[in-house]
């Protein structure tokens, strides 16, 4: 009916606008991984990640972190016998079901190492295909039972992404130490498995240790950008004694920022003696320009100012140079570790042979900015140290955020602790 009544000219107008929209959406943040550098070959690593959705801003920090590592590796002579590394950023599909074809496409371009997705559903969908086409799939961010548990999507899948159980357990231990009078836990978070697992781990640990119970829990779609109704609901549920109440925030990025702004405006945060979060609070805190509320963050890097070693100073300086002056965050460090690990795996395998690469990843052990990184043989989880720190706004800090009271838990110790929660959901 439309076509019969519709002139060609007007159809062209509509088509042009739709195509412009699609082109504009797809163009942001892409980079090419092709071309050769120096005298040797160029080995391209691919990150398949969301560049336009809710997670795009934090994914960009991971991409930038990987770029820093690659620049450092190339400057130091590259991998193998002088081959250079390059990064190709591949936008993820709109539907996880299409991940298989994206992985195949990347494979057809000759790429042998990928980080296949930044969300569990995408990683789960892409991992079996990566195994089939013999592309090493080591995720920069995905973790959780479907990928690291005994029935994981692919036996060859590894992840540098931080385990929800590890950060959850570390956060719970900190809460029990810093706020021992807490008897009620409240949670606001995204309804995605790894973030729900963080809270489940906190709740289980707190219950077993101090019989802490859950007051109310709100898990919302990660596309949710307005938390005003949740803030109002929480306001009606929390009691009057802050010392007995703790809030666990398992959102990230702009969701954390929006919730904290709305909760601060309503005076809600004052009703908790402990507020903990587990996923890149730094990015949200920086945007609050010195006014970020104080939270305990349990993740892998937390704040660039915490680590005084030379490796970190170099990382921060180079990151700022490529990220428009911004400071690195948790995911920046994740991207950095991912690219560093892949370079070490290539060197260790002596090339890009799939079987040798998989074996090499399993045996990786290296020193990174926060400490020793190794790989758990059973779960294929990279054991990165967990960093728990008190973070809040500071007008005098260079990035407007100040971290203090930090504890760095070695990866194997944090991993072992996360097994002791004694609940069915534990790995």
């Amino acid at each position: 009916v439309i076509l019969r009544r519709f002139s060609i000219g007007k159809l062209l107008v509509v088509t042009a606008v739709a195509l412009l929209g699609v082109a504009a959406c797809g163009s942001s943040g892409q980079s090419s991984g092709g071309g050769s550098a120096g005298g040797g070959k160029t080995i391209t690593l691919a990150m398949i990640t969301d560049l336009t959705g809710v997670t795009a801003p934090v994914n960009q920090t991971a991409i930038d972190g990987a770029k820093v590592a690659i620049a450092q590796i190339n400057a130091a002579g590259g991998v193998l016998h002088g081959d250079k590394l390059a990064l190709k950023v591949v936008p993820d599909p709109t539907d996880p079901a299409q991940m298989s074809s994206v992985v195949r496409q990347v494979s057809q371009e000759g790429i042998k190492i990928i980080s296949g997705g930044d969300q569990t559903a995408y990683c789960v969908a892409g991992a079996p295909t990566a195994q089939q086409v013999q592309v090493l799939d080591v995720s920069e961010s995905c973790a959780g039972a479907p990928l690291t548990g005994p029935k994981r999507a692919s036996p060859d899948f590894y992840t540098v992404g931080v385990s929800s159980y590890m950060v959850g357990d570390a956060l719970a231990q900190t809460m029990l130490t810093k706020a021992p009078a807490v008897t009620k836990l409240y949670v606001v978070g995204y309804a995605v498995p790894p973030l729900e697992e963080v809270f489940q781990t906190v709740a289980a640990r707190a219950k077993s240790a101090h019989n802490v119970t859950v007051g109310a829990q709100y898990f919302v779609p990660y596309t949710q950008d307005d938390f005003s109704s949740i803030v109002a609901s929480l306001e009606s549920k929390v009691g009057s004694d802050p010392t007995t109440q703790a809030l666990i925030l398992t959102t990230f990025g702009d969701g954390s920022l929006t919730f904290l702004k709305e909760a601060t405006a309503a005076g809600l945060l004052q009703k908790f003696s402990f507020i903990g979060t587990s996923y890149d609070y730094y990015t949200a805190a920086v945007s609050l320009k010195g006014t970020a509320p104080v939270l305990y963050d349990s993740y892998q890097y937390d704040d660039w100012q915490l680590f005084k070693n030379q490796q970190n100073q170099k990382f921060v300086a180079q990151y700022r140079a490529i990220a428009g002056g911004q400071y690195p965050s948790d995911r920046s460090y994740g991207g950095y570790n991912w690219a560093t690990a892949m370079a070490k795996a290539i060197d260790s395998a002596g090339g890009l042979d799939y079987t040798k690469l998989v074996d090499a990843v399993a045996k990786l052990h290296f020193t990174s900015i926060t400490g020793q990184v190794s790989v758990d043989a059973a779960s294929h989880q990279f054991l990165v140290p967990i960093v728990v720190a008190k973070m809040g706004g500071s007008a005098s800090a260079p990035s407007g955020v100040q971290a203090s009271d930090a504890e760095v838990i070695p990866g194997p110790q944090a991993f072992a602790g996360s097994f002791s929660c004694g609940q069915a959901f534990c790995p």
Binding site: V17, G21, V22, A24, G26, S228, S229, A232, L257, K289
Partner: protein, 296 residues
């Protein structure tokens, strides 16, 4: 009683931004018959303009803030006007689906355009110092900024009603919404009224975006996060009804907060549940009718 008050006041806080977005949507639909998805993109630009261009995230004085909000809304009105003139006007005689498709294309374009100017990082805008913090209303803690928004929402609702009922352009717009062909036969310049309505509708989107900026993270996600809820408000209120948009926003806001309070696991689905219920019981919405615009 306290919990009920929390629900009502929290619901009102949530309702006002939705009403501001939905009122522009429903106005454009009522007069021009266009379901404009790009409204979400214009809303997002309102937030970006305020945060990045005019205030740069810093807490402004109340007067500077008001000026920045108005300027942001005016710029967005011109953007909307350009879209109305360049895109929707030529398509107006086509099937409604064509404009719908074009508006979605424009939404995608705007969402893709924003990172070109502002990058992929989300931004934050502080409210004016006088509106920061919270006050107690009937024993319930409410953000001062939310109270301002509620007050402004009432002013906009009254202003829009007066505009439509008491001004020549409003009367002509109402006539076009009632019966476009008859109004044109009687000498109403549909072209001028359409432009004016598109500008006013877009101005409301820009106003909503600028006003919401101090309470949320400003990112491209704003474009689609609120537009779906605003469409739900428009459908519940009745397509083309500004009064319906106000009542629809209040009902959906209060229901959302109530479900969040009493059945937290349903909170994420409250808009869809409410919309489904209304569509089943009263498909034309609270104040809707199957008007000329609707059937066109």
């Amino acid at each position: 009683v306290h919990a009920a008050l929390v629900v009502v006041i929290g619901g009102l806080s949530e309702a006002v931004p939705l009403f501001l977005i939905a009122s522009g949507l429903t106005l454009i639909y009522g007069v021009m018959g266009i379901l404009n998805f790009a409204h979400g993109g214009l809303f997002m630009f309102g937030a970006y303009l305020l945060t990045s261009v005019f205030l740069r995230g810093n807490p402004p004085s109340l007067i500077v803030f008001a000026g920045a909000v108005i300027l942001s809304a005016i710029i967005v009105a011109f953007m909307g006007l350009a879209a109305g003139w360049g895109l929707f006007r030529p398509l107006q005689r086509e099937e409604p689906q064509v404009s719908l498709l074009a508006s979605y294309g424009l939404l995608l374009f705007l969402v893709g355009l924003a990172p070109v100017f502002w990058g992929n990082q989300f931004l934050s805008q502080a409210p004016p110092a006088v509106l920061a913090g919270h006050s107690r209303v009937l024993g319930v803690s409410v953000g001062r900024y939310n109270l301002m928004e509620i007050g402004l929402g009432i002013v906009v609702a009254i202003g829009l009603t007066l505009l439509l009922k008491k001004t020549p352009i409003g009367v002509r717009a109402t006539a076009l919404a009632e019966d476009r062909e008859m109004a044109r036969a009687l000498g109403v310049s549909a072209r001028r009224v359409d432009f004016a309505v598109f500008a006013i509708g877009s101005l409301l989107a820009g106003l909503a975006g600028a006003l919401i900026a101090p309470t949320v993270a400003v990112s491209t996600n704003l474009a689609q996060a609120f537009i779906i809820q605003a469409f739900a408000v428009v459908l519940v209120g009745g397509l083309g009804s500004v009064g319906g948009a106000l009542l629809g926003a209040i009902i959906l806001g209060v229901v959302d907060t109530a479900l969040g309070t009493y059945v937290p696991w349903l909170e994420a689905y409250s808009f869809y549940l409410s919309l489904g219920l209304f569509v089943a019981l009263r498909p034309q919405g609270l104040f809707g009718r199957f008007s000329e615009a609707t059937s066109r």
